[in-house]
Amino acid sequence: MAAVKSCHSTGPANSLALDFTIALAGNPNAGKSTIFNALTGSHQHVGNWPGKTVEKKEGKLTAGGKDIAIVDLPGTYSLTAFSMEELIARDFLIDSHPDAVIAVVDATNLERNLYLVIQLIETGLPVIIALNMSDIASQRGIQIDPDQLSKKLFNMPVIPTVGYRQHGLDKLRRAIEPVISTRTTSKIITHFDPVIETEIQSLQAFIDNDVELAGYSSRWLAIKLLENDETIFERVRHNTPMVEAARYAIHTITETTGDEPDTWIADGRYGFIESIAKDVIRRPVDSQISVSDRLDRILTHRIWGVPIFLFFMWLVFQFTANVSAPYLDWIDGVVSGPFTNWSFSLMTLLGLSGSWIEALLVDGIIAGVGGVLVFVPVLFSLYFAIAIMEDSGYMARAAFVMDRFMSALGLHGKSFLPLLVGFGCTVPAIYATRTLDNHTDRKITAFLATFMSCGARLPVYMIFGAAFFGSASGNLVFAMYLTGIGVAILTSLVMTRLIYRDKPVPPFVMELPPYRVPNARTVAITVRERSMAFIRKAGTIILIASIIIWLLMAIPLTGGGFNDVEPEQSAFGTLSKVSAPVFAPAGFGDWESTGALVTGFVAKEVIISTLTQTYVGAEQSTEPTGTNVVDNTVEIGRSLGEATVLTLQAVVNIVPRTVNLIPGVSIPEAALVSVDASGSDDARLETALSRNFTPLSALAFNVFILLYVPCMSATAAMRHEFGAGWMWKQVAYTFAVAWLSAVLVFQIGGLL
């Protein structure tokens, strides 16, 4: 028979060798450390709990002429055995037998803190309650009657304190001496349901007759056995009859009541807390409604929640499209102007002027990668707006509102959060479905995620928006994102009603974080990291794709020589022409746009690279326009200043554009400066697009790009997570939906 670990301390329960020990316990963030520092001053010793990496702090306090060691226990919410901190705190209390415990309680959150207090009292140790943060509780209108609380807790001392102001600490010190002298304890704190009380008493009889368990509170030990606490069963395994009785009691209670004893015990504690709170705490009615609650009543309103979410989305894309435009033009001007000129100069210096290497650098790499990099301000603006929504706490509400909306339609409405991730990138959105436990839910959500318009598609909308919709390009972007959500909902509808119709939608509870003013540093880091991901992609995948496209356009297939071939007769042009007729019903059956759709499978930004190389390259070869470094540098600075003024103008103009949404209202927009960016690559691409597309075919083309097969990384992620079968279904479905939608837009639009 194994000997139980002795619960009798053989010396002081502290490393300071003082005769008296007090443990300081409490919930995390209840102000325990402040109280500890205030009580012990500079007399502190910091180490680790034996065998653990958790910090152990001890300090010396003199009260009533006695030197007392204060041991700061890890912050915990209970004394169960679910975390290392709880085990450390519990083992110290039951093995080291401190002379008393000071329970530091957050007065602003008394009910939650009382759960630990009750368990502390159950251990049989004398407990003193420091009702901390009582000033903040008062400010919030929460009135706690300490005397009444003391009565409810069988006359345990309750001392209101304000740790950081050292208020109440003298009273707390004075309360310690009588408690450790008399070791005043409460035998019974919570009266559980009779079914539990009967078994507690039976087990107590075993415990009281076991000398090896004499150091434990028999009631506490009996409760722990009924809670099926395996670490406690280990401690008492020498007493086989008691172990068997405890196991039998657990089984019997579970069988007869349908609930395990630990559920009854936890419920008893919560019931006791409720009875205390009713008599002890007074809250003014209006203080129970926080600012967050008030905002939630509007922003998560059952009817207005969805329109408000859509309005915020519209605002985001107005911001993205208009605020970023001046800097987009500026970078475009720098890339297609001075940077290209300097590249020509470098090639001349190296004796490569007019060579295919120069053409690869200027028409392939600079046009391809540069054509994508100019959209960094757009992505930066989008990520900034989304980061503000995330950090303010609104994004969680958006997901909640949309989930509720989808649920109301009988759809799989618990997946919108992973879908929101898809606004950034489809790949993490697919992996984010791992948060859903059910495999079918995961598959459906990943399927829907491909319709969420990722950041890579945004440059395409922007360039078409600028070419065909001018200052209303933000509306096109908004319409595209909205269409993506709409198609995802329709797809969910099809799947839920036709394929997974027997599967009920499980309800769920979502924690909505409190609203807060966005943290500038957090927002800055988020925006930087996301923008850098875009730039890294331009330097890798898009660079390689641009080189390959240039090579395919330089290789003749039906006539001409290398780098001396009509684009249409190149390998790229010839191959693209094969699939072009498929898209003719959608209004974009030329080889240039078809080729761009094919390369867009690599990454959606490559569509821009391809269109730039095919349309702009075909219309006009880039030629040097001057290489004066000083002039170019001055021009870069001048245009940057101009872009900054235009950006400020665009920020100001968000207000009239928003107000002008109200019918009958028309506020003029500010027009401080205007620029002519017609010489840049993007401007030339816009011109080329306006020649080769009509507004309707441009819209159909954008709809196709929104909905068709996501990039190869996302497709690979789909295969990785759900297998090749599901991936091919998704590829086929997205292509079919995209083609059908584009054709419908073009054909029906043509009839209007």
Binding site: P28, G75, T76, Y77, S78, F82, S83, M84, E85, E86, N109, R112, E260, T263, W264, A266, D267, Y270, G271, I273, E274, D293, E390, M395, A396, F400, D403, R404, S407, G413, K414, L417, P418, L420, V421, G424, C425, V427, P428, I430, Y431, A432, R434, T435, L436, D437, V505, P506, P507, F508, V509, M510, E511, L512, P513, E529, A533, R536, K537, A716
Partner: protein, 95 residues
Amino acid sequence: MSALRDVLTAFEQSSGPISLQRLAQQLDISPPVLEDMIHFWVRKGKVRETGDAETCNTCGSVRGCPFVMNLPRRFELVRDGETTAPHCHHLLNQG
């Protein structure tokens, strides 16, 4: 059985998503206490907690995927026939 069972019943009877704050108002308990009660049921395997999005490494970002949002926690009822491992993640992080 009172408050603790009420929480589970609220999960079972809910017809759609509900916020933790709203449920706390309905049950007339403070949100932190409700959160503790929900975690009790999570430990019992009756409710599961979701919300921590796992990242992916396909874009080669050293610091993890920058697009993964800090998702709020979500609790849902474990349906009949489903199994779930007792989820102590949150408690382990609380210490």
